[in-house]
Amino acid sequence: MSAEAIIRIRDVWKTYRLAAEEVHALRGVTLDVTRGEYLSIMGPSGSGKSTLFNMIGGIDRPTSGEVRIEGYRLDDLTPGQLAWVRCHKIGFVFQTFNLIPAMTALENVAIARVFAGASPEQARRDATATLERVGLGHRLHHLPDQVSGGQQQRIAIARALVNRPSVILADEPTGNLDLRTGEEIIRLLGELRTSEGITVVAATHDMKMLSASDVVVWIKDGAIDRQARRGEIRIEIGSIDGHAVA
């Protein structure tokens, strides 16, 4: 099991000091994510879901404990090394797409490739191929505000994919999309997991994403409340496995 774990989280605590009191955003979280798995993290605001997500992405450091991606220990790295891990090993997909508004679809994807060390010319070739892969070969030279929300998220997915990361981290990727477009994005992420062997970790409230997930983890008060594989999850109207849906 642990040999296959692409993400290993061991007894991770995150503590903030607010005035005189200590607030524990995470309380000893331990979690393994297997290569090629689709994992959804569920939890209400303030549950520690975002903190856990940020730890996996190397954009926040635990107060104690260990986070590893592909064996690389993230919690003890220099800023330059963390930037390397984010660039080469992780692809980020955001709820608000986060494309650079002044840059075309092609430029938005190519810049991620340039950060990974490709020449601008090679980066453009790779970005073109990746945008074609997500069905946007005809939108290369459009600015983000000239395409639909779903297409913007596809550009963002192409940007996350272009450096062939091990893990795609998606923060509420369907949160700003309508039902049908959200389903298309979920399908695309699922396809990429199968075809590229990429591990997908998504923080989500979206029930549609749960049905596409291999594993669902519920976070409550900074700890894992429950972890279930898809077959074990009972989805009913208004609740998932007994947890109310907001």
Binding site: I59, R86, C87, P101, A102, I111
Partner: protein
């Protein structure tokens, strides 16, 4: 045993230039307003320097009829010309105001783009890249503003001296000092724009990747 993780490497300057240029193009109206501040201040500087160059050359000519014109224009012929203190003060104030104005515009621009900066850091951008893009963005505005301001200032200076002294300007005027003044004005505009952007660029580079997650605009 832990694998050794390399340090992220820096990207070529031309990439930072391309990103900066895209930013200027996208926010062309804001860039234009920022640029206007530079145009005004540098035009005033160029005007003062060029009028001074030409006046000094005319005073050195020691032509009696020209001296009368110079005295009519308020030039102290015996002292050899030179800009008055009020003019120097005014130009100094204009340059300082320009510096503060650009710093403010850049700070606003950076604040608006916190999420964008966080996103670039998530993609692997280093602090140095962020600093460079903002310095280049300001330098591009500075170059354009300084060029326009210098042309405007020199144009007005020539028009004013020609109106006061007519053909004497071409007869006694000397080109090298004027070219020197043009260079000083042009370089000053660009340097001021870059200096003004240092603080905001440094602040921008200190933003964290987690800022990419901000939902509010």
């Amino acid at each position: 045993m832990d694998a050794v993780i390399p340090e992220q490497s820096a990207v070529p300057w031309r990439v930072a230039v391309a990103v900066s240029w895209a930013g200027v193009r996208r926010r062309w109206l804001r860039s234009l307003v920022t640029m206007l501040g530079i145009v005004f201040a540098i035009a005033l500087l160029a005007y003062m320097l060029v009028v001074d160059d030409l006046t000094r050359a005319l005073v050195r000519a020691r032509d009696p009829r020209l001296d009368v014109l110079l005295q009519k224009a308020g030039v102290d012929v015996l002292a050899g010309g030179g800009p008055d203190r009020m003019m120097i003060l005014l130009v100094g104030l204009a340059l300082f105001t320009c510096l503060v104005g650009i710093a403010n515009a850049m700070l606003m621009s950076v604040t608006e783009r916190i999420r964008e900066i966080g996103t670039l850091k998530c993609l692997g951008a280093l602090d140095g890249f962020i600093v460079r893009t903002y310095l280049i963005e300001s330098a591009l505005q500075g170059l354009a503003g300084a060029l326009s301001g210098t042309l405007l200032g020199v144009g007005v200076a020539l028009a004013v001296t020609l109106a006061s002294y007519g053909g004497y300007v071409f007869r006694f005027g000397s080109l090298p000092p004027v070219l020197g003044s043009v260079g000083i004005a042009f370089v000053s505009g660009t340097v001021i724009a870059v200096l003004a952007a240092i603080g905001p660029a440094w602040w921008a580079a200190r933003r964290q990747p987690v800022d990419a997650m901000r939902v509010e605009e």
